[in-house]
Every structure is written in structure tokens, then in C-alpha cells.
């Protein structure tokens, strides 16, 4: 889940608008836009996701 840094709306990564690649940056910016206010948010880094999964498995 991502909590929008601007409007506080909580949404899943899939629900966000992402990966348009229109800015010309190599590979795009990978930011996830809030579906409600369009503020760009950071998705959870892969390493953090992996750590969380590992912790859940350990539980």
C-alpha cells in the first residue's frame, strides 16, 4: 500500500498511475502517481518488499 504524500489517499501500487516514461529519463522515473490527486509517490523499494516477505515467512 502507498499512502499519497500529498492527499493522504491510500492505494495499492497497481491502482496508481505509473511508468509512463514520457519524461525522457532512462527507463522513466518509476514513480507511482496517486489516482486521486496525481501527486508522484515512491513505490516500496524491492529490497524492502523482499525483507517484508522474508519476515512474514519467518513468522
Amino acid at each position: 500500500m502507498i499512502r499519497c504524500g500529498y492527499c493522504g489517499y491510500e492505494f495499492s501500487e497497481e491502482e496508481g498511475i505509473r511508468g509512463c516514461g514520457k519524461c525522457g529519463k532512462p527507463g522513466g522515473c518509476r514513480m507511482v502517481r496517486c489516482p486521486r490527486c496525481f501527486y508522484e509517490n515512491l513505490p516500496e523499494p524491492g529490497t524492502v518488499k523482499k525483507m517484508k516477505k522474508l519476515l512474514e515467512k519467518l513468522k
Binding site: C7, Y9, K22, K25, C37
Partner: protein, 663 residues
């Protein structure tokens, strides 16, 4: 909401497997925790797709509740079953067309009075409602006591107190879904006159409907066109007669129907809440609430903003990040140790001077590109991103939007434009793209011009703060100049550009204490991406500059720019920083940093150079984005205008400082 058209490959409709069993729809206002509950109920099996014929996304997932398969639908946020936005329309379409077996109405326990109005509408419509009073933990922290069993009794539907983010109440919700049986729901009575109107219309309806006749009659009287079309189809030949009667009633009640209905519903909610909610005699006002009030009130908000900018930007980013950390990394690590060592290594391996220059020369890939990226830019952006993440996580930005709304209206924008403006302090290229979220073309053009002109990006801002923080007077002159130009150009643009400034409305999320882990993760991610992005560009720019040097083109370019530099009172060498700046804003600012270190500029020249460079043509990436968003003509026009304003301001400022002797 079709502003961001998504690529089909990324966001095309996803068709999930057909799920048999109970259909559960989650409804409620935005920001009440619907998606958290949806994820808790469905886990990983989720399909997100556009609702047919719209750009609104709907999530669907499957779940097994009490051994029974269920399809869970997360509807877009809605405030009422009388829709205004496309999202609300889609949410109601789902209720009408998909005929859910259970409707989970999620609401915020802290705003029961405001949100219960929709519960009344859902119950009145005869839908199978379960009420989830969410965010109970924060309501309790505020000292609110909610009698859930009494509310259940009054509404005649299952009511569950929950805090889904903390997994509280999930088991009860699952149990309520599994054991849901339609029973007697409460009937809400309106005044005799209103009831009379409802009955008159409801008795005319003979078709088959998902919603109750009472609810349909009310929607017809509120001039709901979609319901009017539905009724026309269902009633067939009688449709015209029904429409005529509705028209007569609307005419009779033309003066105050909406107001009367909303006042009566408010009374019903008041009755429902009597004895259900207990607020402490003196409601505990949390520090967050108090801070929130200070932040939006102009009298306290403006000083608060100055405090935030002073300690956050000046002290933390400027003095600590760009001063202490840069001195340590760039001064001690690179200049003192790494550069002499790597120069020795390269010179011992490569015998040709021209190739040595490419790596460790004046514009060398390592001695300039890597030094700028790691030694100067990285510590500055690290502190800036840390400060930015703290502000973002605390919920300060939407309050800033409200605070500046009135000022922004003067320059033809609204508080909503704070999003691109704030993002511009991170990266102007992305912010230019975000201007498309503004409502009118007028706003988008004004915001694009202001971003290109007066909003420095994070790295540029950091380096300029580093440059000027040693002479606070220079920093003050720079800040005032930029603010004045921002307001002046904005006011002029608002006068010249035709059109009205739209309304701005937003719901404020609560202010919170930022979580350290969240702030650190965000900062780390932003820095990682930023570094990966700038390093190749800095290396490429170093190679181009080296090429320019060996072909003597660079010298010629500096010669061409010398008269302009002289006109604004800058040394000839400052042209180098402007050439750097065209590759990237931060590269140019780092160039100025180098000039200052070499003692080539006094405080007056420093502030003139900083103002001119901040206002000067944006970097290549931003220019390309302007071209993409506003078209070639507009981008070229903005580019030319911005360059002229930059050098004219530099010239004026230089004359002013020379005459007055302020610096």
C-alpha cells in the same frame, strides 16, 4: 479524470477469472480505508481494470469467507448516491448493475456525522448494507466514545467498529459478510410534505429496479438524469407520464428542495447519533490538530512557513548539507585525496595527454563529472530529500496548498498548483508534466512559465543555498528577487491570459508524526534513482565539454557569451557555468560553486549570477517536456521569454546593487 491516459500494456483491462459466490461491494468516501480493507480481504488475487467506457479504475479480488467464495469489489470514492463526479457515477453503476449481495459501507469514525448521510441513503435504497465504522483507534485517541451496539439497533443493520490498518475488526467483518441475512432495516421518515412528494412519485413506478422506489423518487426529484433515463426505459409507455409528474413536482419545490432534503437528512443523522456518540466535555485537541490549524491560517501559517524554510532549507540543506557535508566530501575526500591519487594513476597508465584530460583534466569524467555528482550534488540532494520526505509524511503539503490558495489565485492559479510547484523543487521536468493535472489550459500555461522561470530544482537550489549561505545578505536578495519575479510574471500572465480561475477544494488528511523508517526509505529510494539518473548525464556532459575544449569550440562559445556576461557584471569565466547549466541545472550551479571557490566572484557577482542562472532557460530535459506538453511554438516562446527575463533581471539587479552598494 482522463488526464493521464495509460498505456494498454501497463494498465489495460485485466480480466480476472469469473468468481462464483457472494458479491461484496466496498463503498464510502475517499480516504476512509476502503483499499486497506479490500487488500485485507482479498490478499494477492486482485485484478485492476478500467470500468467499461470510463477511465476510472475498479479493483476486484477474490476471497474465501467462512468456506464460501466471494468476489470483493473496491468501488471509487463516493460522497452520495446522487453522483457528481465520474468516480461517483461508476461507484453507483456498480451498485445498480452488479447487484451486490453485501454492500460494505466504510466510514471514518472521526467524521460520523458527515458520513452517516450516505448510510441513510444506502439503507433507504434497500441495499444490503453492513456498516464498518473504521479508524476507531484515532477516534478513541481524540476522546470520542461510539456506542456501536446502539447504532446497530437504531439502523437495523450490522455495524462493526474497526481499525482496518491495525487489523482490528477484520474477523467481525468477515463474520458479518458470511452470516449476512436481509432483515428489517430502519425506515427514515421525512417531513409530511416531503414524504407526500416521495409517495406521489414512488407510486407511479411499476418497473423492476435494484434501488427502492423511495430512493428512486428522491433521485428523480433531485433531477438525476441517469435515473430519469433508467425509469423511462423501465416504465416504457408510462415513462412520459412519470416524467411529466416529476417535472410538476420539481417545479412546485423549485426553490428549496435540495436544501430542505439535506437539512432533513442532517436532522435524521442527529437523531441517530443521539446517545451513540459521546464527546468529552472538553474535546482533547491533539497537537497535530493545533498545528494543522496554525498551518492553514495566514496569520500563523506564513510565519510557520518561514520557520520551516529557515530550519529545513537554510540550516539543514544549506548550512549542514551544502556546507559541512560538501566540505567533507568534495573538499577533503575528492580534492584532498581522491583526485590527486586518481590523476597519478591515470597519468601513469595513459601516456597521451589528450586522453588523460578526458579522465582527469579540467573537464575530466572523473575529476569533474564524478566529483560534481558525488562530492557536491549527492550530499545536497540527500539532505533535501530527507527534509522533503519529513514534510511529505507529516501532511504539511495540502495545508500549504490551502495557505497559498489566495495568493495563487492572484497569479491565475489555485492551491492545486502547489503540487507541480512543490514537485518543481524536486525536478522541474516532472513538475512540468504534472501541470496537466491543472483544470484549465490557462493555469497550465501560467504554471509552466513559472516553473521554467522561478522554481529552482532540488540540486540547483541546494548548490545555490551553499553558495549564498556564507553571505546571508546575498541569500536574502536572491530569495526576494525570485519571489518578486514569480509574483510579477504571474500577475502579468493572469492579466494577459483570458479566462477564469477555477475553484479549489480539497479534503485535508490528518497531520501525523513522520515515521522514521518511512522517511529513511523514501530518502534512500529518491537518492538512488536520482544518482542513477544524473551520473551518466554528468559523464556525458563532461565528455562533451572535453570535446568542446579539444576542438576549441568551447572557448569560442565562452567568447560569444563574454559580452552578455560583461553586461550583467559577471567575469568571463561565468559563461562556463551557464553552458553547464544547459546540460543540467545542477551542473551549472555546481560550476558556480567552483568559480566561487577559486575566488573569481565577489558577493554582488555571486548573487547576480545565482539569480540569472536560476531564472535562465531550463535544462534540456525540461525544455523537451515543455515542447511535449505545450507544443513547439509555446516551448520556444517560453524558452526565449525566460532567457530574456533572466538576463534582463541580472542586468537590473547588477545596476541596482552597484548603485545602492547593498552588497
Amino acid at each position: 479524470m482522463a488526464i493521464f491516459k495509460k498505456k494498454p500494456s501497463c494498465h489495460g483491462p485485466v480480466t480476472g477469472p469469473a468468481i462464483k459466490g457472494k458479491k461484496v461491494a466496498l463503498v464510502g468516501n475517499p480516504n476512509v480505508g476502503k483499499s486497506v480493507l479490500f487488500n485485507a480481504l482479498t490478499g494477492a488475487y486482485v485484478a485492476v481494470s478500467n470500468y467499461p467506457g470510463t477511465s476510472v479504475e475498479v479493483s476486484r479480488g477474490s476471497s474465501t469467507i467462512d468456506g464460501q467464495p466471494c468476489e470483493i469489489i473496491d468501488t471509487p470514492g463516493m460522497y452520495s448516491i446522487l453522483p457528481i463526479t465520474e468516480e461517483e457515477r461508476v461507484a453507483r453503476e456498480i451498485l445498480l448493475n452488479e447487484r451486490p449481495d453485501v454492500v460494505l459501507h466504510v466510514l471514518d469514525a472521526r467524521n460520523l456525522e458527515r458520513m452517516l448521510t450516505m448510510t441513510i441513503q444506502l439503507v433507504e435504497a434497500g441495499l444490503p448494507v453492513i456498516l464498518v465504522v473504521n479508524i476507531m483507534d484515532e477516534a478513541e485517541r481524540m476522546g470520542l466514545e461510539i456506542d456501536i451496539p446502539l447504532l446497530r439497533e437504531k439502523l437495523g443493520i450490522p455495524v462493526i467498529g474497526a481499525a482496518t490498518a491495525k487489523k482490528r475488526g477484520l474477523a467481525e467483518i468477515r463474520q458479518a459478510i458470511a452470516g449476512y441475512e436481509e432483515g428489517r432495516q430502519a425506515v427514515f421518515g421525512y417531513s409530511r410534505r416531503l414524504e407526500g412528494d416521495i409517495v406521489t412519485i414512488a407510486e407511479l413506478l411499476q418497473g423492476e429496479y435494484t434501488l427502492s422506489r423511495k430512493s428512486l423518487a428522491l433521485l428523480l426529484l433531485q433531477r438525476d438524469e441517469e435515473i430519469a433515463r433508467l425509469v423511462a426505459v423501465q416504465e416504457g409507455e408510462r415513462g412520459a407520464f412519470v416524467a411529466e409528474r416529476v417535472k410538476e413536482k420539481i417545479f412546485e419545490r423549485r426553490e428549496s428542495f435540495h436544501l430542505d432534503l439535506s437539512l432533513e437528512r442532517k436532522e435524521i443523522v442527529k437523531g441517530l447519533l443521539a446517545g451513540v456518540i459521546r464527546t468529552p466535555a472538553q474535546r482533547r485537541v491533539t497537537f497535530g490538530e493545533r498545528l494543522s490549524r496554525w498551518a492553514v491560517n495566514p496569520l500563523t501559517g506564513a510565519p510557520l512557513l518561514i520557520v520551516v524554510l529557515y530550519y529545513g532549507l537554510y540550516e539543514f540543506v544549506g548550512v549542514f548539507g551544502a556546507g559541512t557535508l560538501v566540505d567533507l566530501l568534495e573538499g577533503k575526500l575528492f580534492e584532498g585525496w581522491f583526485n590527486p591519487w586518481i590523476s597519478g594513476v591515470v597519468k601513469s597508465i595513459i601516456p597521451w595527454e589528450i586522453i588523460q584530460e578526458l579522465f582527469v583534466g579540467e573537464y575530466g569524467v572523473i575529476t569533474l563529472g564524478l566529483r560534481y555528482a558525488v562530492g557536491i550534488i549527492l550530499p545536497i540532494v540527500a539532505t533535501f530529500f530527507l527534509f522533503f520526505s519529513v514534510l511529505e509524511d507529516s501532511g504539511y503539503f495540502p495545508r500549504l496548498a490551502l495557505l497559498v490558495d489566495r495568493l495563487f489565485k492572484k497569479v491565475g492559479l489555485t492551491g492545486r498548483a502547489v503540487i507541480p510547484m512543490v514537485l518543481g523543487f524536486g525536478c522541474d521536468t516532472m513538475a512540468t508534466m504534472v501541470t496537466r493535472t491543472l483544470e484549465t489550459v490557462r493555469e497550465r500555461v501560467i504554471a509552466t512559465v513559472l516553473l521554467a522561470l522561478a522554481i529552482p530544482c532540488s540540486a540547483q537550489l541546494g548548490v545555490i543555498l551553499a553558495l549564498l549561505s556564507k553571505t546571508p545578505g546575498a541569500l536574502l536578495v536572491w530569495s526576494l528577487c525570485l519571489l518578486a519575479i514569480f509574483l510579477l510574471i504571474g500577475l502579468l500572465a493572469a492579466k494577459i491570459m483570458p479566462g477564469e480561475t477555477p475553484m479549489f477544494y480539497m479534503e485535508l488528511p490528518p497531520m501525523r508524526l513522520p515515521q522514521l523508517s518511512n522517511v529513511l526509505t523514501k530518502t534512500y529510494t529518491r537518492m538512488q534513482w536520482y544518482f542513477m539518473e544524473i551520473l551518466p548525464l554528468f559523464i556525458l556532459a563532461s565528455v562533451l565539454l572535453w570535446l568542446g575544449k579539444v576542438t576549441h569550440f568551447f572557448e569560442r562559445l565562452v567568447d560569444w557569451m563574454a559580452p552578455v556576461m560583461a553586461a550583467v557584471g559577471l567575469p568571463r569565466e561565468a559563461a562556463v557555468a551557464f553552458i553547464f547549466g544547459f546540460f543540467r541545472r545542477d551542473y551549472g550551479a555546481a560550476g558556480l560553486y567552483d568559480l566561487q571557490k577559486k575566488g573569481l566572484m565577489d558577493p554582488r557577482q555571486l548573487v547576480v549570477a545565482a539569480v540569472t542562472l536560476t531564472l535562465f532557460v531550463p535544462c534540456v530535459a525540461q525544455f523537451l517536456m515543455m515542447k511535449k506538453e505545450r507544443g513547439t511554438k509555446a516551448a520556444l516562446g517560453i524558452g526565449l521569454f525566460v532567457s530574456l527575463v533572466a538576463f534582463a533581471s541580472g542586468w537590473l539587479l547588477n545596476r541596482f546593487l552597484l548603485t545602492t552598494g547593498v552588497l
